[in-house]
């Protein structure tokens, strides 16, 4: 089993009144639910051992024209899900969350998943499909250090079943019919 890389909590700062959390994401191009070139991407992070839950991950594009291009993906109950990612090479570079209480935000944490080389979440999306980033558990170490350990209790198949259920139940995701089809096709392959 690969030794988890030691990582650092990048920043920890108190924030002021937070804007309401919006579902969805921003990235290189507005997601078109009918674009046949786009793919569904999913993953999972267990932050039960962390100072904060995780609210978002940044999925960075390494082959886009603008080197800053990334998708900022909201997370629900640990599930990372974006139904319409453009082709390219991606990996999670940072993720974060806050100890918010209602409309009052708490301390904002930003975690470095990997900004210096290829990490465990690296994906090359070269054809439409459903792509699994991976599943990890946050493990605190000394000081601000932490590691992300591969999580074997959340398989690709289990998470894909959750993805399919989410896409059927969630009002915002329901319009991504192509993404649902991609997820169902992949789930059928795994059975």
């Amino acid at each position: 089993m690969r030794t988890p890389t030691r990582r650092q909590v990048v920043s920890f700062a108190a924030a002021s009144l937070a804007a309401s959390a919006l579902p969805g994401c921003a990235g290189p191009g507005r997601p078109d639910p009918d674009d046949p070139t786009r793919s569904l991407v999913f993953g999972y992070i267990d932050m039960s051992g962390a100072p904060t839950p995780v609210d978002w991950v940044s999925l960075r594009c390494y082959t886009c024209a603008d080197p800053r291009s990334h998708y900022q993906i909201s997370i629900k109950d640990g599930l990372i899900l974006h139904p319409a990612i453009q082709p390219g090479s991606y990996q999670i570079d940072v993720f974060g969350g806050s100890n918010s209480l209602g409309i009052f935000s708490g301390a904002e944490h930003r975690y470095n998943f990997g900004t210096t080389q290829r990490n465990d979440s690296a994906l090359r999306i070269d054809r439409p499909g459903a792509y699994f980033l991976g599943a990890w558990r946050y493990v605190a170490q000394s000081g601000r250090a932490f590691s992300m350990q591969p999580l074997t209790t959340q398989s690709e198949k289990d998470l894909l079943a959750r993805v399919v259920a989410s896409m059927r139940d969630d009002q915002d995701l329901r319009r991504y019919g192509r993404g649902l089809v991609l997820a169902q096709q992949r789930l059928a392959q795994l059975r």
């Binding site: 920890f12 603008d66 080389q117």
Partner: protein, 197 residues
């Protein structure tokens, strides 16, 4: 922090230093559009301290006296020796003999500056495998370190390293630069495998 200077005259070399000649390449070569360097929290092209010149198209190599990888620290600000060669060009640098190892090497691919008190600069880096032994000897005056060719993928990872001998071409460039033959001892750099230093 001392950026080891370019050598323009052989009189710059004394008993404690050596003229280091070599070249660093990446496959594929680094394109200017791949680096996004914001030098202030205001972003854009502002560069009031003229720092971008050390980052654009260049690699920073932290030198050390032991073959142990090291992360740059704030305390290095006054003591570090850093080679800062332009990529894809032969370099002629003044290097201290007492620090014959590269202990950290990186290209800053993306940098944004924030107003955060403890994390002001956020960077994405392409790092090279270290430590690298330069093989400097006490009697050296000029050494040829080789062409360091790093094969990379799109995730800023080095997948393969080649250390190539192009000394003849380097000697020709040295002759043109200094106006005379420059005897160089061949000391091809060596990447030390992890756990063997």
């Amino acid at each position: 922090m001392l950026i080891t200077p370019e050598v323009t005259s052989l009189s710059q070399i004394d008993d404690r230093s050596v003229l280091a000649v070599g070249r660093i390449e990446f496959v594929p070569a680094l394109q200017a559009r791949e680096q996004h360097l914001e030098m202030t929290s205001l972003g854009g092209s502002l560069d009031p301290l003229d720092q971008r010149k050390y980052l654009a198209g260049r690699i920073a190599l932290l030198l050390g006296d032991r073959p142990v990888p090291a992360e740059p620290k704030a305390s290095d600000a006054f003591t570090a020796d850093i080679m800062n060669p332009q990529l894809e060009q032969t370099f002629f640098l003044h290097v201290p003999k007492r620090k014959p190892y590269v202990v950290h090497g990186a290209i800053i691919m993306q940098m944004t500056v924030t107003t955060h008190p403890t994390n002001p600069a956020r960077t994405h880096e392409l790092r090279i495998p270290v430590p690298i032994a330069l093989g400097l000897q006490v009697d050296d005056r000029a050494v040829y370190l080789g062409t360091w060719r790093f094969h990379r993928d799109e995730f800023y990872s080095v997948r393969k390293v080649e250390i190539l001998d192009h000394q003849r071409g380097a000697a020709d460039e040295a002759r043109r630069r200094f106006g005379a033959e420059v005897p160089m001892r061949k000391s091809l750099a060596r990447v030390i495998p992890a756990g063997t230093a």
